[in-house]
Amino acid sequence: MKECFMRIEPENNSVSIVLIGDLNPAIFHPSWFVANNLLSKDDIESAEVEIIFKSIAVFKVGDWLRVQVEPNRFVAETTEPPFVRLHDLVVRTFREALIHTPIFKMGINRRVHFSVGDEESRNKIGKKLAPQEAWGEWASCINGKKDNKHGGMVSLSMRETGLNDRKTGHIQAKVEPSRLIKNEAGIFVEINDHYEISKDDSLAGATPIIDILGEQFDVSLRRSEWIIDQIMALKEKV
């Protein structure tokens, strides 16, 4: 995989791992993670449970981990590098403690918010990604008539399929105006690196998907940052 640096320093970063399968949310309590030697006793001191119920569990550990589990979805998210710590936790959870849990889909998600300096540059990038002329006669109306607000691209997704490294799955990028960065100068990009296995393979429990996570995590993040960098590069082209 190519060496990659994102040319603009993101102002906000996160990585999440999403697993789709058959889960029991009620067991996902910080104490369960400590009992299974997946989190340390120090971790549990900073753990904060938002809700643990039969159909949903949400807790966070300090600033580095947020876990949310629903009957068919497990989400672990971090904003703190090194992101590999999230990989270690998820792989150990489903390889050592929940090995028989059927998991059949996985997403490795990279999200960043970055600034392109000013609103004008952001607008130009938006128009480059989604030219308004394509909307015909409506194009002249999109901007609106008020000085302080204008229309334009709200959300754009692009998907790559037919990848060689997986039987089924895709890579999907989404670009939107950032609501976190001030002065209307921010762009939000999310990359969803999505893997699927057949229901038959998922009868082997979590192992087939978790093996993919073990092999692909670092590669996936580097590729996602490379895709994000393509959007960052537009700042130099508009």
Binding site: E11, S16, Q68, N109, R111, R122, G152, V154, E176, R179
Partner: protein
């Protein structure tokens, strides 16, 4: 691009992260799904007259099971942008420092090219107690940015909790070792 939000016309993306403030499309879907699942449980329990989830006597009411606050997306907290990242393993430990061999992860290197000494005081208390020769860690340097926008250069060492080797990985390592050994014989 614009300031306002618009209705979600894109298909629901199952494994995309559902927790983002930046997302104008997914927040609504996630929150709706979140509350629907709770309401479904409540109405099912009412229909079938099932007792509380707990086996002990517990007074149950809707306010009890709803969270005190709506899940807080992580984007509102401190953020850390990596400038450089290395993976290292501990070679030796003295009273005040430890020495490690480093592989540059940012440049996608696979061979250790550097060696460095780190003060033990840089480690978290738990890591200082468990460090031993061979321990593997990640070292990142970058900018730590507060929600208010101030940023400072920061360095962080985190020891890895590596999963146990799988049979497949052990087989691959044996195969690689055999291959390398045969190349050494040729030379």
């Amino acid at each position: 691009m614009i300031e306002q939000t618009a209705a979600n016309l894109t298909p629901y993306n199952e494994t995309a992260s559902p927790l983002g403030l930046g997302s104008t499309t997914q927040d609504q879907g996630f929150l709706l799904k979140f509350y629907e699942s709770i309401v479904d449980d409540l109405s099912a329990a009412k229909r079938h007259g099932t007792p509380s989830v707990d086996t002990t006597y517990a007074k149950s009411s809707i306010p009890d099971i709803f969270p005190n606050k709506i899940p807080n997306p992580q984007e509102t907290r401190y953020s850390f942008s990596v400038l450089q990242e290395w993976e290292g393993y501990v070679v030796s430990i003295s009273t005040e420092t430890f020495t490690a061999r480093l592989t540059d992860v940012t440049r996608n290197c696979t061979i250790e090219e550097e060696e460095a000494d780190f003060p033990l005081t840089d480690l978290e208390d738990a890591d200082r107690l468990r460090i031993s020769p061979g321990s593997i860690f990640r070292w990142v340097i970058g900018y730590r940015r507060s929600p208010g926008g101030t940023k400072d250069r920061s360095s962080r060492i985190v020891f890895r909790n590596l999963p146990a080797w799988t049979t497949k990985e052990i087989e691959k390592n044996r195969h690689d070792a055999t291959e390398w050994a045969s190349q050494l014989n040729v030379e």
